[in-house]
């Protein structure tokens, strides 16, 4: 069995990860790493986190055997890890609870976050309310238009939502602006990054907070099916839900790991958000990783039906898992994701998030090629209530 103990001391996953930030942030990241490492070993912190995850978030999230859908596809058995049933409706809160508890212990009374679809913004605003912290969420002006219900939700929770008008006015620009805020208020402010990307220690820390998904799955699959799955499938934008599921399985090489990127209108169209499938390595937002970029090294605009996957980079650990061959990355199109969205609604009575629908869409392709004894575990990372206006719009309906 291969041992797996990345990242190294400086946050590198092979050539990926690291800490590519302006000098002003270096000390803050050192502090964060030291404090995180301390509390990761602290039984009192871990006990509080476990308590919050159980009583506030509602963990453990169940695993559900989607029998009708499996029969319909006529191959492998599909199980769903129900992160959609968490408080606030997605896996994002696993991480924001962890980071907010850390912020409190570090004496930071103000938290900031970036958000694309609004799920991480809502999860950040939620924990800020819960723990009495001031919260500012940066969101691209384009995304604010696309995700009006989540914007209002954040405001209800007491957060300020700041529209970002620079660049492509989407998630990457929101992250730029959050970084600018952080560099200006670094001594009083905790930056809650929402995905397993950014400068060290974020990719490691977010992975660890999300690893509860895979840890629960390991126990639950034994209870439910008597064994571990053959294949794990998760969508990958920045990749936090995927790394959370994959991480406890990395050394279990019998389990195949498949990450599903947003193929948008198709990889050949150039209009997608699939850096692992069609990008090249580079440096953005504090880490080296696969990026969508042009020949001049400028970051390209991305396209996805799902705002949460609409990001030109990806967490550095996924870049490493791709190169090392431990995980495989594929892309599905907007249309395929949308079809899977509708199938799950009709056959299982579950409305999935458009992000998670990408993982479901790949299960649709893979399941029929496997026999009925095989088991696929798909991470249903979020629920689709937020996407109802988008889906209705695509059907020509205005709600």
């Amino acid at each position: 069995m291969r041992r797996y103990d990345l990242p190294d001391e400086r946050g590198h996953f092979g050539p990926y990860g690291g800490r590519f930030v302006a000098e002003t942030l270096v000390q803050a990241l050192d502090d964060l790493r030291n404090q995180y490492q301390r509390y990761a070993q602290d039984p009192e912190f871990q006990a509080e986190l476990a308590h919050e995850l159980k009583h506030y978030v509602g963990r453990p999230s169940p695993i559900y055997h989607a029998k009708r859908w499996s029969e319909h596809l006529g191959g492998a058995q599909i199980y769903l890890k129900r992160e959609d049933l968490n408080h606030t409706g997605a896996h994002k809160i696993n991480n924001t609870v962890g980071q907010a508890l850390l912020a409190r212990r570090m004496g930071k009374r103000r938290v900031i976050a970036e958000t694309g679809a609004g799920q991480h913004g809502v999860a950040s605003a939620t924990v800020a309310a819960r723990y009495g912290l001031e919260c500012v969420v940066y969101m691209g002006a384009e995304d604010i238009k696309r995700q009006a219900p989540n914007v209002y939700r954040m405001k209800l929770l007491g957060a300020s939502v700041v529209a970002v008008d620079s660049g492509s006015k989407t998630l990457k620009d929101a992250m730029n602006e959050a970084m600018r805020d952080w560099v200006t208020h670094v001594e009083t402010t905790f930056y809650i990054i929402g995905t397993a990307a950014g400068p060290h220690p974020y990719p490691m820390m977010v992975r660890d907070f999300q690893a509860v998904i895979g840890q629960e799955a390991r126990t639950q699959m034994i209870e439910l099916a008597g064994r571990q799955p053959d294949v794990l499938i998760a969508c990958v934008g920045g990749g936090s839900n995927a790394i959370g599921l994959f991480s406890p399985y990395l050394e279990d090489e019998a389990v195949r790991l498949i990450g599903v990127e947003a193929g948008g209108l198709g990889l050949e169209s150039g209009k997608h958000a699939a850096p692992l499938s069609a990008g090249v390595p580079g440096v953005l937002h504090g880490n080296r990783t696969y990026l969508m970029q042009d020949d001049n090294g400028q970051i390209q605009e991305t396209h996805s039906i799902s705002a949460g996957l609409d990001y030109p980079g990806v967490g550095p650990e996924h870049s490493w898992l791709k190169d090392s061959g431990r995980a495989t990355y594929v892309a599905v199109t907007d249309a395929e994701a949308l079809q899977a969205f509708h199938d799950l609604c009709r056959l299982e009575g579950i409305i999935p998030a458009l992000e998670s629908s990408h993982a479901l869409a790949y299960a649709v392709k893979l399941a029929p090629t496997l026999d009925k004894e095989q088991i696929l575990l798909v991470n249903l990372s979020g629920r689709g209530d937020k996407d109802i206006p988008t889906v209705a719009g695509l059907s020509g309906l205005a709600l």
Binding site: R180, G282, V283
Partner: protein, 271 residues
């Protein structure tokens, strides 16, 4: 000795301070960039910092972000910036040019290919703001090999224990970021900056320039009393943005002359 070190040595011999203006290449267009470089050198700039436009300028405030967007809208990339420097060198063999930008365009070109091309174009120094010393080894190796000075930042949050880490890799001069924030942010606290510069002296062994937050001739003058160089960026970029078509070069030259005489008067009065 590098062109940058030579300029600082000359200035020191004459008891003067360096004025380092920053402009973004390709703002408003590449031809104007070339004219601006010559005009700034003539108006009293000792070194020129040339911004390489990047799609995601995380360390920059709105003024320089907009200038980057204007340049990118015309498709200006790193190779175009090098071409402007080469053109500048046809007439000016003395004024050092430092490229300032983000790591990814350099990484995309390849460190060695970049360093070679930059040297050939006549670039003297390179500052990549999102590449701290801990990650900079391969880049600095490529730059040293082609006799280009890697410029590094120190900031108000840098603990003194890190000074040697930065100084070990840095060449040419140290760029002290005078405030916590992005370029063009609030006005700096002069007394605070003076104390920090004082703490750095003798520990970094290079001239120290101060930038971020120098908004006018007055703050440039105050900083020049204790720093070896004053970097003015957003204020100049703002002048370019506000200038009617065709007037940017004259306006920037006038601004440089104003800041130059304020610096010289301040230092002279001190002596």
């Amino acid at each position: 000795m590098s062109r940058i070190s030579h300029v600082f040595e000359q200035l020191q011999q004459h008891g003067r301070r360096a004025l380092i203006p920053f402009i973004t290449s390709g703002d408003p267009d590449l031809a104007t960039t070339l004219d601006l470089m010559h005009a700034m050198a003539q108006a009293g700039a000792d070194l020129i910092e040339l911004g390489v436009p990047f799609s995601d300028p995380m360390a920059d405030g709105p003024t320089i972000q907009r200038s980057s967007e204007r340049a990118l809208a015309q498709g200006v990339g790193l190779r175009d910036v090098l071409a402007v420097v080469a053109e500048f060198r046809r007439k000016d063999g003395q004024t050092p040019v430092v490229l300032m930008g983000y790591l990814n365009p350099v990484e995309r070109m390849g460190y060695d290919a970049f360093a070679r091309a930059a040297r050939q174009a006549g670039v003297d120094g390179v500052l990549t703001v999102d590449c701290p010393p801990e990650e900079a080894g391969p880049l600095t190796d490529a730059l040293y090999a082609h006799a280009i000075d890697p410029i590094f930042l120190l900031s108000p949050t840098t603990p003194e224990s890190r000074f040697p880490v930065v100084a070990r890799l840095a060449r040419g001069f140290i760029y002290y970021v005078s405030l916590k924030g992005v370029t063009g942010a609030a006005t700096l606290d002069v007394a605070d900056v003076r104390n920090r510069i004082h703490a750095m002296r003798g520990r970094v062994g290079l001239p120290i320039g101060v930038g971020f937050g120098i908004r006018d001739a007055q703050s440039a003058q105050a900083v020049a009393r204790f720093a070896d160089a004053v970097v003015v960026g957003s204020r100049i970029v703002q002048a370019i943005e506000e200038a009617p078509r065709g007037e940017a070069v004259d306006r920037v030259a006038a601004l440089i002359r104003e800041i130059r005489s304020a610096i010289d008067a301040g230092v002279g009065a001190q002596a």
